[in-house]
Amino acid sequence: MSRQSAGEADKLVRRYLTQLDAALQGVEASRRQEILAEVHEHIEEERTELDPDDTAGVRALLSRVGEPAAIAAEADAPPLGSGRWDAWAPWLIIFGPIASGLGWIAGMLILWPSPTWSQRDKVIATVVPLAGLVALFFGLVAALGGPAACAGHALHATAGCATKGITLPLGVAILLAVAGLAAHLLPPIHLMRTRRQRSTSA
């Protein structure tokens, strides 16, 4: 029981630091690290006076440390409104390449200058969904085109069938399509979540 609540208190601290890190997006990296490290030290220092499993104490402590947004404002983090088209970026990344390349380009033009996301998230959201889309496409062609093109072998499709130069066992083709879909959707979903986290912490 007590071990469980110690875990609970640790989780509160970790969640707080994640929110602070998100709120500090847009602050220069080395300064952001400094502030995060010192706030973390502050919390750990104050926690030495508490029982490790005192979750109520940790909550009170974190509320004294204050709103992540207030700390970010003191650090001159760009306010959330500075990326006001942010909400569109994930959707444009998902549907842009399918509808028309222009949508995707618009998504990139919103994504890259925005202070809401880290450099790493931006790189991932640029490269991975496109690669995912390619994998999804080939997976689908192999899975759907394969068995249809050699109707005689339909029941043995898992044994493999060649169409348009793509030869893949059905299972692998489906796996490829599913992995492609995940790769296409997960990075933009991550962008949405990061953005929401920032706006609730602001």
Binding site: R31, E38, V39, E41, H42, V65, G66, A69, I71, E74
Partner: protein
Amino acid sequence: MHCMEPGNDVNWLGQVRKGVAEQCVLALLTSGEKYGVELARELTARGRIIGSEGTLYPLLARLRRNGLVETWWQESNAGPPRRYYHLTGDGELALASFKKQWRGFRDAVDEILNEGSQE
């Protein structure tokens, strides 16, 4: 977020705090080096010079960057080593000049406010 409703003191206080809190940190360090929790407690206890304890750290980062404060690690008898903050020579000079200007500024504001209340 900050409200701008009339009668809400958060807005102007936030503006004034921003400049003055740094000077208060320098002043607290003239009596010797201190660690973060110590500074944060003094500043929030005394009329909430800073909004919340956490806002101290961006402020200290700024002072350090401007060379007014230095930090180092020191062993503590209770728990892990602590980061201590220490006033530099430049910090002392900055504080001295702030003190002079602040008194003039404060007197001028008081004078204007008093004139206003006499009319």
